[in-house]
């Protein structure tokens, strides 16, 4: 009797997450709730724990302690793979360099278990979003692409799973401003289409502009959680050593 269009208010949430790498504490009792359809930015300097949190939220990393829930339902620990509906674009993209553009995209669909015809449809759709150079020569090995092209391909690959929630880790690293702009435009389009976006970043400017909500991490702890504007937010950004571009 559930309405098919029912969307649970909390798309993704984690509770009391603790994670250690060997002897080093990366996340120290983190609880974050991400509402459906929102654009949430998690900001923090190097080593604050953003990437670790991203991996925990997407199910790839099972935390030392704590729980993760998707749409209100808790996910079992030790998952180590993907949680359906959540796609991660990891830091550094992690494309399969020896495989072609098309093959990287196809894998995004296969991994999510979509039927063949559906994968084909999504492939042509996603190719439209990618730069023309990739569309025209989708047989190129991914390792030969420029940084910007690789970032776009990585996002495309994650989208091939038709996720409801997209977690994207430091997309702006090594990218020229024009490409950063294009990436954020794509994210904004996805957001407008109802995809919940979790952005992990160091460079606050663009992130703040697009976000509904801001979470700031410092050394594994949440030091701010709330709207992206206002004095409190501003003060937290400065205190967290998060730079602003002077442009």
């Amino acid at each position: 009797m559930l309405d098919a269009t029912y969307r649970p208010p909390t798309a993704l949430a984690c509770q009391n997450i603790v994670h250690r790498y060997g002897g080093v504490l990366a996340l120290d009792d983190i609880s974050v709730a991400i509402e459906t359809g929102k654009f949430v930015s998690v900001l923090g300097s190097n080593g604050a724990g953003k990437s670790t949190l991203g991996m925990v939220l997407s199910g790839v990393l099972s935390p030392s302690a704590g729980s993760v829930a998707v749409a209100g339902r808790e996910i079992r620990a030790g998952h180590g793979g993907r949680i359906g509906q959540v796609s991660l674009v990891p830091e550094g993209r992690r494309l399969f360099g020896q495989l072609s553009v098309a093959e990287n995209l196809l894998l995004g669909g296969y991994g999510a278990g979509a039927p063949r015809a559906e994968i084909k449809r999504r492939l042509s759709h996603i190719l439209e979003e990618l730069p023309k150079a990739l569309r025209d020569d989708s047989g190129r090995a991914a390792a030969t692409l420029s940084g910007g092209e690789q970032q776009m391909l990585a996002i495309g690959r994650a989208l091939m799973a038709d996720p409801k929630i997209l977690i994207i880790d430091e997309p702006s690293m090594g990218l020229a401003p024009i490409l950063i702009k294009r990436v954020y435009e794509w994210l904004a389009r996805l957001h407008a289409n109802g995809v919940t976006i979790v952005l992990l970043e160091q460079m606050a400017t663009h992130a703040v502009r697009h976000s509904d909500m801001l979470v700031i991490l410092d050394r594994g702890r949440v030091v701010y959680s709330g709207p992206p504007t206002g004095d409190k937010a501003h003060a937290a950004l400065i205190a967290g050593y998060i730079g602003e571009e002077a442009l």
Binding site: N46, G47, G148, G174, L175, A176, L179, A246, L247
Partner: protein, 602 residues
């Protein structure tokens, strides 16, 4: 202070090796502590330890696991026999055998760079199998399948022929010498260089190391050791059977290396004892030895990855080294980098002039007629969208890519294009890497020391006071605030500090001109501020700097002139303010088109 502790340690090790060798010889020789048979086993452990060490050294320092070192023991053994038959004394025979193996090893090692380590390992397997076949067939030299007896060998030092009772002493003498030499080489700068080339081939070329040469010398040294083992074996056993050079034996040597531990002297002894001891203990029952070998290898590789000896030492010393450090504030640089530059850089302040460089990859024009000038002692920025050719330009400067056409690429008066990549740093060209690419298996201090050696000659010629590598390294560590982290391995350091260490490495090499590859990429605001300060001071001290990056506000702050690259062409060049407002640049690089600009002004 640190230097002399290092030397004292090395002398202590050498003394320990000498004592051990002497004690063993006395035990089995004059003192007759053991019977003949045990004595023979100890001698066998001696010459097997030499060849185990030769394999272990290559594996540990070059990442190559040679599956076919029996070819080199064979050279040592059969050369010894044949020259002895020709009447030469042992003092002449041994050097010949060693040289023959070393020469072939050098040639083989030179080719290592062309292949991945996997292919190269399989190549060594092929060599040993072919070698084994040749041994079986070449009857004149090896006696064929029946084997060949070792005749009495004259010795000039002894003044008579070597008797059976001397054979053990010969073996132990060679083992002791081999251990001494290997320890000396591997613990010294040569071994450090091998480790650098092993982990970061590209970065090592950028500081002046020559990977093919390092591979060749390492392989040659290893082959020489193996030949020594073969010679000792020939004299000790008195008879050569081709089976001793078969693939099975080659695998047995691998077992010894794996079980004992790579890169460890004591490990080589342990491994050799293992492969001598097991067949002895299993006397009577066949099939036990291969079974024990296989099981031991599997157990060790699964649970004691680095080998029994290194793993035990690790446990004894209290556990894992180098867990990732939590980010902590680094020491700030000790004030004036101008002093540092004056003291350690022989050639700061030369102009970099790139004229009309064009590069094609297949049909793609990566660079079209690009010219950039970085005046002496100034900082110039280079920006451009991804794929615009910035990386290619840097690779042309480094020597990894050859331009299709170019008028010239000069530092000062020196033309770079005619120089190999590893020759460019002595012309003054230094570079850093986007991902730092520090030498993974060396501490920061060790890295700076071996790199500083390359610049010794240039520093002496420039009349600098600081010439000795250790002193130069310490000065740089102090100057850049790396004191806290100098003994750490790169992977345990925060990224920001790794990047500073990368700059330190370029300075240690004596580069007076620095090309920085996306130095600010991946750094947070705190780390960026520290790097900015360092670069400002270097610039003020007269170092010529070319910064390639996307973090535009840093470039505009540091550089007085900025070039903009797009699709392989320079589309703009000028002061930061002019670049910032240039419409071509705004559109191509910042993605701000005219209508947007209008709208934002409305």
């Amino acid at each position: 202070m640190i230097a002399s502790t290092g030397n004292r340690r090395r002398v202590a090790r050498a003394a320990a090796i000498l004592l051990a060798g002497l004690a063993t010889w006395i035990a089995i020789g004059p003192a007759q502590l053991f019977g003949d048979y045990i004595g023979f086993l100890i001698v066998a452990i001696g010459y097997f330890a030499i060849v185990t060490m030769s394999v272990s050294m290559l594996a540990g320092f070059c990442g190559i696991w040679p599956i076919g070192h029996t070819a080199f023991t064979a050279i040592g053994a059969y050369v010894t026999v044949n020259l002895a038959l020709a009447g030469l004394p042992i003092e002449a025979i041994l050097p010949v055998a060693i040289l023959a193996a070393a020469a072939i090893g050098y040639l083989l090692g030179m080719t290592a760079g062309r292949f991945s380590i996997l292919y190269f390992g399989l190549l060594t397997l092929a060599v040993s199998l072919a070698g084994f076949e040749i041994i079986g067939r070449w009857e004149d030299f090896t006696g064929g399948e029946n084997g060949i007896g070792v005749p009495a060998i004259a010795s000039l030092l002894l003044g008579r022929a070597i008797r059976l009772s001397d054979a053990g002493g010969y073996s132990l003498l060679l083992a002791t010498l081999a251990f001494l030499v290997t320890d000396f080489v591997c613990q010294g700068p040569v071994g450090r260089r091998w480790l650098a080339v092993k982990s970061q081939r590209t970065a090592s070329m950028a500081v002046g190391f020559v990977p093919p040469r390092e591979n060749a010398t390492a392989f040659s040294f290893s082959a020489a050791l193996a030949a020594t083992s073969g010679s000792a074996m020939a004299v000790a056993i008195g008879y050569l059977d081709p089976e001793g050079f078969s693939l099975n034996t080659g695998i047995t040597m691998l077992v010894a290396t794996v079980v004992g531990g790579t890169g460890s002297l004591v490990g080589a002894l342990f491994g050799a004892s293992f492969i001598v001891g097991v067949p002895e203990l299993a006397r009577g029952t066949s099939n036990v030895a291969p079974f024990v070998y296989g099981a031991a290898m599997i157990v060790v590789l699964l649970f004691l990855r680095r080998g029994v000896v290194p793993s035990l030492l690790n446990i004894a010393s209290g556990g894992t080294r180098g867990t990732r450090m939590q980010k902590q504030p680094s020491e700030s640089a000790s004030g004036d980098l101008a002093e540092l530059v004056a003291e350690v850089l022989p050639s700061a302040g030369k102009e970099l002039r790139i004229e009309n460089v064009s590069v094609n990859f297949g049909g793609v024009k990566a660079l079209q007629d690009v010219s950039v000038v970085v005046p002496a002692g100034r900082a110039i920025g280079l920006i451009g969208p991804n794929g615009s050719g910035k990386t290619t330009l840097l690779n042309v400067l480094s020597g990894f890519v050859r331009p299709r056409a170019a008028t010239s690429v000069r530092i000062g008066d020196t033309e770079l294009l005619t120089l190999r990549p590893w020759e460019r740093v002595s012309a003054g060209f230094g570079r850093t890497f986007q991902h730092a690419e520090l030498f993974a298996e060396l501490t920061i201090r060790d890295t700076l020391r071996i790199v500083a050696r390359k610049g010794r000659k240039a520093r002496r010629e420039a009349g600098l006071n600081l010439v000795e590598p250790d002193a130069v390294a310490e000065r740089i560590i102090r100057g850049l605030g790396l004191d806290n982290v100098a003994e750490s391995l790169p992977h345990s350091l925060p990224f920001g500090i790794q990047k500073v260490a990368d700059i330190a490495r370029a300075l240690a090499a004596g580069a007076g001109m620095l090309a920085l590859d996306e130095p600010f990429s991946g750094l947070d605001a705190d780390e960026s501020a520290k790097l900015r300060a360092i670069l400002r001071e270097l610039r003020a001290a007269g170092v010529t700097i070319l910064i390639i990056d996307h973090v535009v506000h840093e470039i505009f702050d540091l550089a007085e002139d900025v070039y903009v690259l797009d699709f392989g062409c320079i589309i703009a060049h000028g002061k930061p303010n002019a670049i910032r407002s240039d419409p071509k640049v705004r559109e191509a690089y910042f993605g701000i088109t005219e209508p947007e600009r209008e709208a934002s002004h409305a």
